[in-house]
């Protein structure tokens, strides 16, 4: 059984999940009646987040650029849910917010949402590890010719 992630961690994993992972689950929970009638507090909106960087020379901040994201807020049985994801997939952002609210409410679907989050976390850790294994294989020690 998957452990329940923190609220922030759950949002990170729902943001990193694929459309095919979260949209069918949210649709099924809605169709099953497991979701009380949700209220959309903020419709999915595509916009930008300014990426602010602290550079190392003066240790001051500058704006590197902006990142395309889609944000959505909902409320399910009085419990708010929120999602911000990279890209412009509004359906996925709405689904993420619904799943966040449902998991925060602690209903019967929580275990399923936790399992989805665990699968996303494992996949990303595995991908990062595979990338890192490839990268470390290119580590070189230069020798000086004397």
């Amino acid at each position: 059984m998957s452990s329940t992630p923190t609220r922030e961690r759950r949002c990170e994993l729902l943001a990193a999940a694929a459309h095919e992972e979260i949209v069918p689950l949210a649709e099924r929970l809605l169709a099953d009646g497991a979701l009380p009638e949700p209220t959309v507090l903020k419709s999915p909106e595509t916009g930008m987040v300014v990426l602010q960087v602290r550079e190392p020379v003066e240790e001051t901040r500058f704006y590197l650029g902006e990142v395309l994201v889609t944000e959505c807020s909902v409320e399910v049985a009085g419990v708010p849910g929120w999602c911000m994801r990279p890209g412009d997939d509004r359906v996925a952002a709405l689904s993420g917010a619904l799943l966040d609210a449902l998991a925060a409410a602690g209903g019967p679907a929580t275990a399923e949402i936790d399992a989805l989050c665990a699968a996303v976390a494992e996949r990303h850790a595995s991908q990062d590890a595979a990338e890192w294994a490839d990268v470390t294989a290119t580590t070189v020690v230069f020798e000086e010719l004397t």
Partner: protein, 359 residues
Amino acid sequence: MGYSGVRGGQEAIAAAERLARRDRLGGTSRWLELDQVTGRLGLAVDRVMGEAGLWAPELAARAIRQSRGDLLEAAQLLRAHRSTLPRLAYSSPVPAVALRPVRRIAPAYRNPPGGQVLGATDDYTPRILDLTDEDTARATAPPPRRPATAGAPVVAPDPTVPPVGLPPAGLLADRRDPADPDPFDITRAPARPGVPRSARLTAMARAETGSLTHLWYLVTQAPRNAQPEIPLELRRGHLPLRIEHPFTGSPVTVAGVRVSEARTVRPDARPHPDGSRFDIGYGLCLGDNEAKALAMAGLDLLVHRDKTTNRLEQRVLTALDGPELAGYLEHLKLPHYVDFRSIVDRLRALQAPDPEEGL
């Protein structure tokens, strides 16, 4: 210069657009999928996102397809689209140490802590056009990276691969600014000489790559800049986009970008104000674009050193923006015949014999 409006030729313009559309989408070639552009032309996608100032790989791929591979035009399209989008939030400031590297080389050091991690690079491969026949090239294409086997121990990326240290203490002027001023937003106010360094860094991060690297090359070759420039470190990697969670206020990572980063030093050959130390410059840009990061670091250093004039700062702030220069070039193709006719009239008047001459 004034401009006169013109009208007419709507049918001809529509026909010209149809021709351009046919060049773009017609013909017998297969439909170009967006994932082919992002997957096979990744450096072009990165370059367009960097110059547009917006991390949006799919939209950048659309722009490249629409512009038929004209990256300057693609950056213009993406920058224009960017201007239609609302700003939803500002990220928490992310420090350079948060970068998860996939490549790190340190030209100033032989064996830095963590090693020289070459990553994916053709730096040590002869630059020879690959003439392998298509069937062989397809057959020998490497497979996609496979995730680690399920259940196998996961080796997390090593966060201890540190950014290479600065030169030994005392050899680099301490430029830390404890005031931590708010960054200058060049998208909301014009950046002109005298703006804070944060404006220059943003302007260079969004600069047209060719213009930036050319300016760096031009300036770095000048006799007054003869001291050697040596990169301390060049990195590529992943940078998280973190914002405050709207309910808890705690940081939450909602997305990530890939970046290229460079730090470079030059000794200061002049005895004053302090010829016994290095100057340092910093470069950071969206995507895999090492040339841009290196040139940005070099120019950051040289502008800092150029304290007596603002000539280089002015060029950095005003001459490197791709959509700006492309827009100016494009406008030259629009009708100018009213201006031209008035200049012709003026020149004829100047050349006409003076009626009072010979009286």
